[in-house]
């Protein structure tokens, strides 16, 4: 208990952000109205961006806000509004075996946490080094990512741009009304 309280007092910002994240993620998977789910999804993605900032990944946080919060959530809301009359939807949104499913999922989550704890304790010399010993992440990670994209990760960058193009064409072909 003391350990837990110390942990909570030691990094309040982290725990506040992750509690917001987990509670809103729980709302995303349980609420009945799918539009409310989309709103809570936006909150979850914002909190993930906050965690990225705490992990010295400012560029990723900005990309997260731009792509997920700005684009994907809007896309979700568009699809909801185009595909269902959510205002007067009173049907059940979760299937009837939700409680049955929640048990194995809980086992899975606890098992993953236990596994991770064991692994991390085992590899302690790898990560529990002296802070002076550990080279800090480069502060200008935006510049570093730009350099990486143009040098070492050139091929994945091009491949991913072709993937985006094909996804765009695929979406257009799928969503277009067929003319006969």
């Amino acid at each position: 208990m003391d350990i837990l309280l110390n942990e909570l007092a030691g990094r309040p910002v982290f725990w506040i952000i992750s509690m917001i994240m987990l509670v809103s993620a729980f709302m995303v998977v349980t609420l009945k109205n799918v539009f409310h789910c989309a709103i809570f999804l936006i909150l979850t993605l914002f909190s993930v961006a906050g965690l990225f900032v705490m992990l010295n990944a400012e560029f990723l946080a900005a990309a997260q806000v731009l792509i997920y919060v700005g684009a994907i959530s809007i896309l979700m809301i568009f699809a909801i509004m185009l595909s269902s009359n959510f205002a007067k939807d009173k049907i059940r949104m979760t299937s009837k075996n939700a409680i049955v499913v929640s048990l194995p999922v809980m086992f899975f989550g606890l098992g993953v946490i236990a596994l991770v704890v064991k692994t991390i304790v085992d590899i302690q010399p790898l990560w529990n080094r002296d802070p002076a010993d550990l080279t800090a992440l480069p502060a200008d990670n935006t510049m570093m990512i730009g350099k990486y994209l143009m040098t070492e990760y050139m091929l994945p960058f091009e491949v991913v741009s072709v993937l985006l193009l094909s996804a765009m064409i695929g979406a257009i072909v799928l969503a277009r009304k067929e003319r006969s």
Partner: protein, 99 residues
């Protein structure tokens, strides 16, 4: 480092729960996004605490974000197509590929 990994594991489990229990196709896609984000948190946390010499984890997370965007676009196009052809996007009505 441990709290980040634990939080990400809980987020991933919530995503699995959503994928398994939602009846709405858009709800399933949203739960998928939760799982992608849990993976990204893991990658960035390991990048910060275990291997700090290069930004490998952050690069990988960025490519995952791009692929997730592409996946969401195609998935939502399929949802719209389903809605046009079946007048509803609940997964229990869509059984055309059931053998």
């Amino acid at each position: 480092m441990l709290p980040y990994i634990a939080v990400a594991a809980v987020l991933f489990s919530l995503g699995i729960f959503g994928v398994l229990t939602r009846r709405n196709t858009i709800g399933i896609l949203m739960s998928l996004e939760l799982m992608f984000n849990a993976v990204n948190i893991n990658l960035v946390a390991f990048n910060k605490f275990v291997w700090t010499d290069a930004l490998i984890g952050q690069m990988f997370a960025m490519f995952i974000i791009v692929v997730a965007a592409a996946e969401a676009v195609v998935g939502l196009a399929i949802v719209l197509l389903l809605y046009r052809n079946w007048q509803g996007i609940n997964t229990d009505n869509i059984n055309i590929m059931k053998w």
